[in-house]
Symmetry: C3
Subunit: 245 residues, 3 copies
């Protein structure tokens, strides 16, 4: 048995983040909280996300694994008012998950976690790092969406840049060093990434005001963020898109 | 001749309630107010709705019948601002209805009321009764919509329940006795109803905060409500959907 | 080189007004401000619009002509917050226009202004004139849209009227003399116009609270308005639609 109570905003952000990559996910429950890993079907992007038990109003029960259909959870979330607390009860032997909001409860079948793949997170260590306001990143992404389906991120000791090029047009977001929260790079570094994944990732992050990016030359992107007001954290990995010069 | 002036919110709720069943309706005008009856084409649901003359800012004229195209009235309503008063003038010999809002007036042909059916309201006396907050009912309906196309209502001396079952999932709304405004039932009673009609009915009720339901075992549902801040009332009847057990 | 800084609301209204007729426009820059002329592909409607340099936060550079793709400007506008100031830089030799908002800049190719037609504005002098609140006009237009695809405007010494007729229905907006700001007509005058153009024109005017209409019997309509809080003005011309009586 597993039982938890959680504010709707916390559960909604978790569901939103994971939904950028997969429609179903295996949730691993431990005494300290929960963890989920996901890789998108094309193996371009990957996610590890954790919520500490402190992110919950109540968090009780034995370690277990739950195969969750995210769309069903989203449907229950739409019944909750802002600030409302949902109750989650999982009956492992029966493979039934019950999510309650107010006087309403939804009982749902779960996916057999045995049959779900367990993504191996590759060891990726990009060395150029930047911390920036997510709002700036969002503006750069929105500007790029009418231009291209990929985006180039660049770091050098002077600052961070995002740009996107179409046939005749180009969008540039330039954040000089003093508008960044942190910048670590010894040499100019740049890599191109698919915009749809990058955009969905960044848009799924709701409560964090800053994110950490780490990249290398034509190397995977690592995007670190917190959720649940710091009582959780996540890490997206995104494969580079090879530039044709 | 018939002439009335009415706040847009009152007319809009009347149009909304009747539109759940029919696109055109015969409005019967008497010295006390107006009445409309409607039955949906599949004869699954029925409505009787009345507005007292007190629901109007002005209500004058001879008894008459008007065959109303509800979509046309809705179009005029969309031109009115909240709180605005519409003026209605009906010229029976010419069969013209003029609805005015501000400096704009729309003159529309009416449907010949002679050619419109006059639904006979069957004598239905379900004995299990409950009064509840419409907000609770709405949450149960919204939760059910992703699960099934029908919903089961149950009453017993302990309280009221609404549930909906899909292949693997189930939604339950349970309102114990102390969260109800009134409960009258001697024995457990339950019946299943088509969700689309039930949902449209409940959503069309805008000003009432509570509704009265009466049901029997596999028996029609009676849903009583007020409109126009108590200066009107309505009664929906809804045929049960036979349960296959 | 040309360089300007402008509040997003001013640029957005300019783009909105011109977009009612064409997707691309030639902007003529002079020391006093800018001007654009447009005629729709079917030659039914025409526009001349001017923004004085006072409409801008900054307005500098040599007289030039810029062939503008309005959709691209609209995309940048969607990145700006209310009240935000955009920076425009035009490099004539390179035919590149750069529009910046905050830390983001979009560089776009422009259309060669040599290849763009230069509409000749016909000499049209309708003698019946009226000034009215645009809000009244909008209500008449919205009421007409469910009735017909054309609208008739009438002026006589008593006032202004707009009406639209369908097969069975009719919408009338009547503005007596005392609800108008100005009225100049010696005899009854009326003309019918295509509703889609008239509607788009009136809806594109955002900041002006009043507009001036001038018309003749079955004669083009002239619609004068201000934009940029009086630091700009525009004039739409609209060909009449011949009435079949």
């Amino acid at each position: 048995m597993f039982r938890a109570r959680v504010r709707m905003e916390v559960l909604r952000e978790l569901v939103g983040v994971v939904s950028t990559l997969v429609p179903e996910v295996k949730i691993v429950i431990s005494p300290e909280g929960l963890e989920a890993k996901a890789v998108d079907p094309s193996h371009v992007a990957m996610l590890v996300v954790r919520l500490k038990k402190e992110a919950f109003e109540e968090f009780n029960g034995e370690p277990t694994e739950i195969g969750l259909d995210l769309e069903k959870v989203r449907e229950v979330l739409q019944l909750a008012r802002p600030g409302e607390v949902l109750e989650i009860n999982y009956d492992a032997p029966k493979s039934r998950l019950v999510v309650s909001v107010g006087k309403l409860s939804r009982s749902m079948s779960v996916v057999d976690p045995q049959g779900m793949s367990d993504p191996k997170v590759p060891s990726v260590n990009p060395t150029a790092k930047v911390s920036l306001r997510i709002e700036d990143l969002r503006q750069g992404i929105r500007g790029s969406e009418s231009i291209s389906d990929h985006v180039t991120l660049s770091l050098d000791p002077e600052g961070f840049a995002l740009h996107s090029e179409g046939e005749n047009d180009r969008v540039d977001l330039r954040l000089p060093k003093d508008s960044l929260l942190n910048l670590e790079t010894s040499e100019p570094t740049r890599s191109m990434y698919p915009l749809d994944f990058f955009s969905n990732m960044v848009k799924s992050i709701v409560t964090a005001e800053t994110v950490n990016l780490a990249l290398g030359n034509q190397y995977p992107l690592k995007l670190d963020f917190t959720l649940a007001s710091g009582n959780g954290d996540g890490e997206f990995l995104l494969a580079p898109r090879v530039e044709e010069d």
